[in-house]
Symmetry: D2
Subunit: 300 residues, 4 copies
């Protein structure tokens, strides 16, 4: 966790500079795959990975994620995107091109408990999170040393219910200034207002410390203890304006028993939270998650 620990920048891996991704959502009908793959083939793009899903082969919605390798991608980008418009129109597509060279910029929000932040920093240092961590924002000072030792700016913004509006304005200004693409709530214990959330649709990932929809809201471990469950879990989801009701990206659980008191559940829970959040963030960064209605399609 020291600056002398060499990081493995994701982008330096062989061939990544010519790597792109195309995400498409459109009404299902025959011929979509043929059209897209011919289009890419005409640009000499080689399909590396392709995943598709149809909500219902007869009249549902079709989703596809294609990862491709294209020589001289940098020079072809403009033409690629321009030419795709006709095809998109023909099939009424929602679509998005992304390029691994253009790393997403992430801000992490944290309160007192550092375990989720630490896991993300750890994964990032190991080269497993393809992003620039541009900023850590906290309503506590605890994590400053660790964050700054990695060369990441740390912004201390005290927060409470009474000054929420003003705090969020300050946060939004910072996020805009740093051109943030993704906000990760790594156990940030403040509620976000609809105004804040609407600024970043499907761009805020939270970790909730229960297997939703069980134990929505506060103090889930205490309530899990009270109910005598034999499994506890964690859920990572996009933030919407319905508390803990946003589209679920990933969940996991561990087994507990009658010997585990609330403190034990929290301890076990921390390790679930760490891995569930890290997976969800990784999949988002690799453009593997498509939100559809209130669910996610995750192309692992």
């Amino acid at each position: 966790m020291e600056t002398n620990v060499k990081t493995t920048p994701f982008m330096q891996e062989k061939g990544e500079t010519n790597r792109g991704r195309l995400l498409v959502k459109c009404p299902d009908r025959p011929g979509i795959v043929a059209a897209i793959s011919k289009f890419l083939s005409d640009f000499q793009a080689n399909i590396i990975e392709s995943s598709q899903y149809s909500s219902d082969p007869e009249g549902g919605t079709f989703f596809i994620r294609i990862e491709f390798d294209c020589p001289s991608l940098e020079e072809k980008k403009a033409a690629l995107e321009a030419d795709f418009q006709a095809l998109a129109q023909e099939f009424t597509m929602d679509y998005q091109f992304t390029y691994t060279e253009d790393r997403k910029r992430t801000a992490i929000f944290v309160s007192k408990e550092p375990h989720c932040l630490l896991e993300l920093l750890w994964e990032w240092q190991s080269g497993d999170l393809p992003t620039d961590i541009a900023l850590v924002i906290s309503n506590h000072e605890e994590a400053r040393g660790m964050v700054e030792s990695l060369g990441i700016p740390f912004c201390y913004i005290p927060a409470n219910k009474d000054i929420r509006k003003q705090v969020e304005q300050e946060q939004i200004a910072l996020l805009k200034e740093h051109q943030i693409d993704l906000i990760v709530l790594a156990r940030y214990m403040q509620i976000l207002t609809p105004d804040f959330v609407s600024e970043f649709p499907n761009q805020i990932i939270n970790i909730h410390h229960s297997f939703l929809p069980a134990f929505i809201g506060a103090r889930p471990y205490e309530r899990a203890y009270g109910r005598g469950v034999k499994l506890i879990g964690a859920t990572s989801h996009y933030v919407t304006n319905d508390l803990d009701e946003g589209p679920i990206i990933e969940q996991d659980i561990e087994r507990v028993n009658h010997r585990d008191h609330v403190a034990d559940l929290k301890k076990i829970g921390r390790s679930i939270e760490r891995r569930v959040l890290a997976r969800a963030v990784k999949w988002h960064l690799e453009d593997r998650v498509i939100v559809h209605e209130n669910k996610t399609i995750v192309f692992q």
Copy 2:
């Protein structure tokens, strides 16, 4: 599943005829283990397995399950139980002696879906459920052939909301007549009335097809699909008069994804239900489950 498949009767295993179990619940204080183990030692009983739990070492409730081997147990039973009363009084114990030779008598309730019933019959035939399956009760005829081919009485009792009272009286009469110790609801899709439940406290085990407390009530797979969860589960619990709120014995889950429609969730769910119910029933039959308030202590 034919009568010519040889069953392995649990009781014929070596030494089991002298095997007993003692379950104790009492206020915690020093000296309980010493007193009990001295008592058993004085009867030449050798402790084979012992598990204990204290809800709080300072002033909580103490629980212990002891499995012991005692030569000539049959002849000593009466003296053992009589002499224990003094000790029990001294420590204000709730307690219970059971003997593996006295197999519990089980009734299984089932509706149309046979998978949980089949799993229990399978485990029982393999010698893994130490019980006499005395009776299968169903509001459908589907399972009759399979049940009767194993030499188990099958009782068809049509049921619906309007005749619930009368149906339950008939069921209770049958259960009493067959001296039933345990009722397993193996996907029995009728609600039991408080009158029925109060006849069999902590003697009715149900399987609910969700990881409670998520999706209490009807159609949990449909609701899991609607919420877009990434895990589905099943829960086995004792039946109380609060729907799906009784003490949980066992839970388990499996991973699902966006490709899994309701029919897939049901299919995956069936295999979870089978193993969760089988484990809970087995633990109950081996006297490994103690109910305390609305939770279970399970001494695996």
Copy 3:
């Protein structure tokens, strides 16, 4: 498990009569997906599911499995296959069309322990194994009643080392006569000779009762007990002439501890074997498994 239990024939599900699958293996190069999807599109075939894998984007082997829905498939089959030859030649493809209407014909081999056979029959009756179980062959009589009660022919062929050659000739004759596509060794405790194996390349699936490559060969549970492992497992693989060395299709494990003696490991192991074999067989029947060198690509 009685004949009066209604089976759910897989093929009667809506739309299945027009469902086909294409499996392709060829040298990787740009344009394969475009060519195949255009080809299918020209036949009005709608791609329902598509999975691909490239062993190395630069110069490796490319694999794709496409499931498609094609109106009037029965009438178009001949043209589809004939026309595909040109494309296959251009890309040097190994390929195979299969149709869900043409159910594979399966023979199950079993010895004394019935649990794997029972699981397969159970899954088959539930409609989860899309195959015709044409034959059960055993060197013991135990399973006859159960098998015949389902209307499946049961062939008792006693076997031992000394008459192996003659036994296998009899078995091969039966398998040819019944036009068997898949042989499942559901705990069949006889070794097959190279002559037998070479008759059915990548068509024989075995279940080995350890997580290979640990405990290759005989008595794996005894050896797992001796080593004091904390996990035991099972492995389903295609049979080759190297004992327990064929391509692995699926593996799973369960946790054990010091209390579990050999008999316990066997009991726990049975439930792992059941589910591992059932999954492997299902994936094979759905054409989800491609063998490449000594490994499998499984498009789940």
Copy 4:
């Protein structure tokens, strides 16, 4: 991971100063539990947790671990241990008293890969590893910054095959000087000689990056990839003079598939190694592991 992150010293938890543990191994016979529990009761020690195991109720070896709370334990220790000798002699016991106040002193050995070291430091900082980490020894300099920032001495001792003898003498001297009770090989990539190992019997814990006994020896991930396994694992075990053959404490696995190349297996493997090693070390520190022949009894 900075010095300003407050650590939660395990010992400051309420009541721990009077907490002791007794581990016993002896020939099984009736009356052992009675004798021990009476002995503890006579010292006013309250049994908090008790776990026992008998390798064979008729003539096997009996094992028990008792955790007890005893007022004024510090003053009674000497008498407790002196008086127990008579009882130990009567039952031919191997036994050991430990006290949570006397924290074990741990040395961690590491080479280049820091993930296991980091996990142990993380758990230790969270108060989950009840030990004093007295020393980190490495044959590389990479981890120095991180270790020293936590106030732990870091000893760089270059090592290779040719100077093994001299390196180990230096290490042993350091370990003796620091009064080390436990050595953790957290991916230390040097082989230890029998002389070194014999100095610390059952005091050296290693993490091997496969599910032993599969892939004993070097390059297990490469060999797992070559074999095409569908699960990879890690194993924590005590070090003996037979390479990777020592008593296994803990194992775990994760699922992999054909898409995972060697680099992916290593990445996934790192997270298995982290948690398997952390669990094994924790159980050892809590005196939950008893070595018997070449196996472990783990009283979780």
